[in-house]
Structures are given as C-alpha cells and as structure tokens.
C-alpha cells in the first residue's frame, strides 16, 4: 500500500509535469505611434480622447478580419506599445476629418505612422479670456467642405482633456449653415450661474469646438486653454 501511494504520487507528478510544456507565445513586440496632421498646415489635428476619432486596424494572416480599435489623445497623437509585428490594414474612421483611405502597413519594432488628413473645420484666431464674471471666447471658423456647420461650442472641465464629450459646463450655438471664414464668433460662459461646477479660486480648462454636419463626424477644436477663476 505504501508503495502504491508512492507510485501514485510519482505518476501524478509525471502527469502534471507533462502539462508543463512550454506554450508561451511571444508577447507583442512592436510599437506603433504617430499623429493626425493637417494636410495643409502640417499641424496636429486636435481630437477627443473619448467618443472621438478612432483608428481601426485589421491584422493580416487571420480569416476572421476582426477590427481592432485605437483611440487618439486630445493633441492628435496616438501610441500603441503592445502590438504584434505583422502586416496591418489601418484606417482612421469616424473622425473630424474627410474620410481617409485604408492603408497596408508593415509594423515592426518602432513604427511611426502619421495620418495626413483634411480636418472638416479649422478653428482660427481662437482666444479665450476671463473678463469680469464671464469667460469669453472669440474665434473664426474655416470649413474645408461644403456641408453645413452644425454647431459651435465652448466647453469647460477641470481636466486638460476637455471637449464636447468631456465637459461640466458648456455654451453652444446652433449654426446649421455654411460659415463665413471672416466672421468672428463669440461664445461666453457665465461663472456665477455655474457656481456648482466653476468655483472661484480653482482653475479649469476651456476649449472651443465646432462640428460639421456629416454622418458620424466628430468635433474639431482649438487647443485647450487653462484659466484660473
């Protein structure tokens, strides 16, 4: 009986050891990064980090053609440090720019891929200032397509990632028309009537945005501005 026990445990160890075959696949070993650049000005195109433009990518060599997605930071840059070296079909989609074509990219090691896009709207001459008990934004709108501009807005949030999806206070105006590039638009937020969310002595980020009337379009922005109230 004693022998049997020994044999059984030995057998068990052999079974368990047999399962220990090395089955570790290599970890993602490549990095993909880049920036959305305005095809005309070559400046980064401002984005939203949540519910903003997305990058869809399909890894080659698999039947399923599953779309994976990456999101973009507010400054228009993106980075994926955990991607497998391989061929990919990459498409920026549902963005604040004229739809871009898919491109086949070989990702290996440190791969830089910038997207040259035509933003729907450029927010020009943007200025945001505190004046008395108000925060006032003035700016011009330059649209690059013939669609209507749906609306413009001034958004505020305690975090620098402020935008239409991420704001605690907003001031919006519906436009629903084509815009004159020389017209100066003005939006203002009254501080006392938003005392819940804009507290004197704290600082907040303000950002001007505008959205074009196109399916699944996202907001275009000027850079966020930090203001102490």
């Amino acid at each position: 009986m004693k022998h049997l026990k020994t044999y059984l445990s030995a057998l068990l160890i052999i079974f368990i050891a047999a399962a220990c075959k090395i089955d570790n696949y290599p970890a993602p070993d490549a990095r993909l990064y880049g920036t959305f650049l305005d095809v005309e000005t070559n400046e980064p195109v401002e984005q939203d980090i949540i519910r903003g433009s997305t990058i869809e990518f399909i890894e080659h060599g698999y039947a399923s053609q599953t779309k994976q997605v990456m999101i973009v930071k507010n400054d228009g840059t993106y980075r994926n440090n955990l991607i497998f070296a391989n061929q990919y079909t990459i498409t920026p989609v549902r963005g604040n720019f004229v739809p871009a074509e898919p491109q086949d990219v070989n990702v290996a090691g440190e791969t830089k891929l910038d997207f040259k896009v035509q933003p729907y709207i450029r927010v020009k001459d943007a200025k945001i200032e505190k004046s008395g008990s108000k925060v006032i934004a003035t700016f011009k709108i330059q649209q690059t397509v013939i669609n209507n501009v749906r609306k413009i807005g001034l958004y505020a949030h305690p975090e620098p990632s402020v935008g239409e999806p991420m704001r605690t206070v907003l001031s919006e105006t519906d436009i629903n028309a084509a815009t004159d590039p020389n017209k100066v638009y003005k939006l203002e937020i009254d501080i006392p009537s938003n005392s819940n969310n804009l507290k004197a002595g704290s600082q907040y980020f303000f950002r001007i945005g505008a959205i074009i009337d196109a399916p699944e379009s996202k907001f275009n922005y000027a850079k966020a501005v930090r203001i102490a109230l």
Binding site: R51, S64, V93, R94, P165, R167, S193, N194, S195, N196, P215, E216
Partner: protein, 623 residues
C-alpha cells in the same frame, strides 16, 4: 447456458424503453390538455416587459433575483436608483439565446399543427396563437439587433453544422416579417376565449401590430438622426430607408383604428369629476388592472407568491417607512425631469417645470440653495405640486402625503434661523424648545428621504407609487408580490394612433386629437390641446410612465443620444425653512446627489450579436 440465453433475451428493447417521468412529443400533442400545457410554456417565455423585466433579462424572478432593484426606468429620464449610478452597458437588455429558444419551441408547434386531431376552430386558434408568439419574439429581437436570421421551421441537425447557419435578413425584411405574422394572428384568432383566458385574441394581435408598426415607422423616419457605418449597414442588416416610414405609419394607424372602431374597448372611468378622483382611478388601474377589462387588452398574471410566479416591486420600491421588514426598500426615485413634464391644470398643453421661487425665472438653475433667492414657502410639503396633473399624484408618493396609514416624510434638511442651510445630514438643532431633525424625524424608520443609510431613501425628493398595492403589506422575501401586469392598454393604442397620425401627416387629425384629449380628460383635464408631436410625446411620458416604454421610445425616435449627452438628472429637494415662524417648506431644484452624468452612444441603438465566432453572423457596427 440457459441463464445466459434468458439474460440475452430479456435484453430485448432495453434501449427503447420510455421514461416514466417525462411526456413524449407525440403523447403531448395528441392530447388537447397537452397542447394547452405546451402553449402555457410558450406564453411564459414571451418577452413581456413586465415586473420581472430587468436589464439582465425577462422572468427575473427565479434563482437569485437579487439585482438591487435596478429597473429599466433608471436608464431613462424617468427615475434613478437610490444608490447605483449605472447607465446602459453592452451586455444589458440582451435576448438572443432565449429568443431563438422560444422561436424553436414555437416552430415545433407550428410544424405539428396540421397533424393534430382537433376541430377546425381549434386549428385556427393554434395557427393564430403561434403566429402571435412568433411575431412577439421577432419584435423583441429586431428592436434589439436590427435584422436577424428568420427561422420559420424547425431546424434538424443532420451531420452538417454549416447547413444550420442562416444569415441575417435585412432590418426591413425582419420588420415586415413581424407585421406579416401579426396579420396571420389577426386573421386566425377569435374575439375572445370562451373561459376569458389571458391568451392572445384578434385584438391583442392588433395591439402588437400597432406597437411594432409604430416602432418600425419611427426608425425609418428618424434613423438619420444617428448615422452609423459598417458592414451591417452596407448590407442593410441595420437601418431602414426613410421611404418605408409611410407604409409603417399607415399600418400603425390601421391596426389602432381596428381596435378603436371595434367598440370593445374604452378608457377606465373616462370622465372623473375632479383631479382627486382621476388620481385615485389611475392608481387603482395599476394596483389591479383586472378591474378595467375594457382598458387592459392583454394582462400577464402573477398568481401566487414564489419563484417564477411572484415579483419584487412590492419590496424594492416601497418608501422606507413602509418597508415592512425588508432591508432595502425605496429604490425607485422618480426624477424632477419627469415631474416637470406633467402638465398643470391652469396652463395645459405645456411642460410645467416646477418654479421654486417667487420670481419663477430660474428653473434651469441647479446650483443649490441661494440665500439671496426669494423661495416660495409652503405649509404643506406637497404644496408645490398642487395643480399638477393627477397622474403625478398616483405615480409618485409626494412628500407629506399618506401611504399605508403613515405620513411619508421626505426632507433634505433645513435652513437655520440664521439663514445658513444644513442639507443632507448633520446634527439636529433646537429652535424655540423644539428639536428639528435634518431628515424630518428622529429615527431612521420614520422618514423616507435623503439619508444614505442602506440606500433606502429617495434622493430625488419623491418616492414611487404606481403599481404598488396600498392595501397589502408584502412579506419581506423574494417574489412575494402578486399584482398583475397590463401589457397592452387601450391608452397606449390611442397614443400610438395619435403619434402615427401626427408623424405621418395622414389619417384623420381630428380623431388623433380626440384620442389624445380622451386620455387627458381621464386624467382630469377639461381643456383640449391641439395634436402636435410634442403634446403626444409629453402625454406618452406621463400616461405610460414606468411601463417600460420610455427606453424604447428614446431608441425608436433616436432621441437617446441627444437627451443623454452628459445628461445630469435632477431632484426637487424639500427643505424646512426655519427663518420664518412657524417653519415652512421651501424647495430647491438641484442635481441628484452622487450621480455621474450619463451618455448614450450611437452604437448602443443596436445591441451586439452574441456568439458570432460560431454562428458566423455579421456583427452590428462598432462592437
């Protein structure tokens, strides 16, 4: 030798033995009682959005039904939960496997009907009922997923899995299938069942068609409000062309008109003498829908307490004071957003946002107590709600109103004699020898508002009343409530009718206006209002509040992403003002405490399709 032989002989047919504790298919269907039994199970599986419908699914009253009492209304602008700040998630409101199980069970019956030895009338009824069930099931699928595989006969596995895979039909084909199945049901079902059984009739089938056609029509008309892209869109598996709206609206008008013109239905107590009477009539209608057989077209019963047969509204949603021993009551908190939608009697035909100050120009100010404001003061803590539509009084328990023999106390704090407000807790104070408690009473069993203890007290300023039975003290356990659910009410048909007329610009506008105003008359309104889409939608919100309609209304009209874009929902908090003697109540409009803003994304108009790895279907956009 002989023994072996005998043993072998006795083995004959051992594998063909019938189990003694289960019914075989042929036996089940050869007996009318068996068919009835089978049918009862199909009805049980029907996706009725009743007291047991939650984001986890249907019939949520078996096993462990503990979901914290988080009702579908809390994902809309109707209510919030006392504690949870959840909004809609990808896994919510799924109904895929269960849907196809019901469809398969129905197809088994449909395939076997021609072989049954029953009378022609009985055959017709079976054909009608099974078409009704399939229409109901596909309606539940198409409003979640868009176009789905149409399985119209029992599938048999004959060694080839691929042969069982049916691709998705387009969304339009799926809606058309639902309406066609309704037509089959309408053509085959009788006016009523001889014993008055709660089974589908011609009129229930018309009611389903009215609801489904209006849903499809709204999608066709409004899908462009929330454009999406992807393979499923390219293949028309989701989305309907705008041009299809006209036919669907017409189908909704025709189906509703058939019910209206039948002369068999009417609103329960249509001409009350006063708003008070109207409130009591409306309350009773939901306490027990069986009292109004002309209004309730289709009822699902909850016959006896217990798993699978009772529900949990009676424990989750009582105000804290009448918890009757249940540890976590008070969880349905109707929002100020809903309260504002109820009309006032003096200014009918408009939303009537509650003005809390004498100036009355600050209904959009949610920044909290402002000592500089001249708040209206009331002796009666429900005084500010006077003049509001009777249905508010029957849908929510307002502060200071009686319920189950108690005065329900809902108070958020007080303004001290020195003018400083003390809200949401803190110590009691003494004023002129009297001790004043922040929540209106000394002990936590004696009030129903704002204390966070146990997550049992409303944080919106009112508690919930609709459907609750004032005369019954529900035992503090699972599935002990047995009130019945009215799935189709005549009032909904009238509202479907009015909406289809005003949205399509067809039909008789005068009749649509009458349908709208008949419902308002029943709620104590005496001045008619014109038929406009805003008036119809407001009326739907208040008349059908908490009947699990609002979620789908926001979906089908593609209003969710607009109304829930960083949406903050609101409370109306009653505060005792000690600056005056005797103390009076003031009210403050403010954001609901401890609740994050909620946002509805375009892609959430469709649920994701589970299991595409094995069923090979095209996934919905952005999943």
């Amino acid at each position: 030798m002989l023994f072996v032989l005998l043993t072998a002989v006795s083995c004959d047919n051992v594998l063909d033995k019938q189990p003694l504790d289960k019914l075989q298919g042929e036996n089940l269907f050869s007996n009318p009682e068996g068919v009835k039994l089978y049918m009862a199970n199909l009805y049980y599986q029907l996706p009725i959005e009743d007291f047991t419908f939650f984001r986890q699914g249907f019939n949520w009253n078996t096993g462990d039904p503990n979901n914290g009492g988080f009702a579908p209304a809390m994902i809309t602008d109707e209510a919030v939960h006392t504690e949870f700040g959840d909004f809609i998630g990808n896994d919510d409101f799924q109904w895929w496997d269960q849907g196809y199980k019901l469809i398969r069970d129905t197809n088994i019956l449909i395939d076997i009907i021609p072989t049954l030895d029953v009378t022609e009338d009985e055959t017709k009824a079976l054909v009608g009922e099974s078409a009704f069930i399939r229409a109901y099931a596909y309606f539940a699928l198409v409003k979640r997923y868009g176009g789905v595989p149409l399985i119209t006969a029992v599938q048999k596995y004959e060694g080839d899995v691929e042969a069982l895979k049916v691709p998705r039909s387009t969304e339009k084909e799926t809606w058309d299938f639902v309406l066609k199945e309704c037509d089959v049901a309408i053509a085959n079902l009788a006016d009523s069942w001889p014993g008055g059984e709660r089974r589908a009739t011609k009129w229930v089938a018309y009611a389903l068609k009215s609801r489904a056609a209006l849903h499809a029509a709204s999608l066709a008309k409004y899908s462009e409000r929330a454009p999406i892209s992807g393979t499923a869109v390219d293949q028309k598996l989701v989305g309907i062309e705008k041009s299809a709206a006209a036919d669907y609206y017409k189908a909704a008008i025709d189906a509703s008109e058939a019910i209206i013109n039948s002369g068999k239905f009417a609103l329960y107590k249509p001409t009350p003498a006063s708003p008070e009477e109207a409130a009591e009539n409306y309350r009773k209608l939901f306490e027990d829908p069986n009292i109004a057989p002309t209004e309730t077209i289709f009822i699902k019963g909850f016959a006896r307490p217990g798993a699978g047969t009772g529900h949990n509204y009676g424990i989750w949603y009582q105000p804290n004071q009448t918890a009757n021993g249940w540890p976590h009551p008070g969880r349905m908190n109707p929002t100020l957003d809903l309260i504002d939608a109820y009309e006032s009697y003096t200014n009918p035909g408009q939303n009537a946002p509650i003005a809390t100050t004498v100036a009355g120009n600050d209904v959009n100010d949610y920044n909290g107590f402002d000592p500089a404001k001249n708040y209206k003061r009331y002796d009666d803590p429900a005084g500010i709600y006077k003049d509001k539509d009777a249905r508010l009084w029957a849908t929510a328990i307002l502060p200071g109103t009686p319920w189950k023999g108690q005065k329900i106390i809902i108070q958020a704090g007080f303004v001290k004699p020195d003018g400083n407000a003390q809200l949401f807790g803190g110590d009691p104070i003494k004023v002129g020898g009297t001790t004043i408690y922040p929540y209106g009473a000394a002990d936590r069993t004696q009030y129903s508002g704002f204390d966070t203890w146990g997550g049992n007290n409303t944080r919106t300023g009112v508690s919930f009343k609709k459907f609750l039975n004032e005369g019954v003290n529900v035992a503090p356990g699972w599935n002990q409530t047995v009130s019945d659910w009215a799935d189709f009410r005549y009032a909904e048909i009238l509202l479907n009718y009015a909406e289809a007329i005003v949205e399509s610009g067809t039909g008789t506008a005068a009749k649509g206006a009458q349908a709208l105003n008949d419902i308002r008359r029943r709620a104590g309104h005496t001045k008619n209002i014109p038929l406009t889409i805003d008036n119809v939608i407001r009326e739907r919100r208040v008349e059908l509040a908490f009947e699990n309609k609002r979620f789908w209304d926001l979906v089908r009209r593609r209003e969710y992403h607009t109304l829930f874009n960083n949406r903050v929902r609101h409370a109306l908090i009653p505060v005792l003002d000690l600056r005056v003697t005797p103390a009076k109540y003031i009210f403050i409009r403010q954001n609901i405490a401890r609740l994050n803003p909620s946002t509805f994304d375009y892609k959430q108009y469709y649920r994701y399709i589970p299991g595409i790895g094995s069923n090979g279907l095209v996934q919905n956009p952005q999943y």
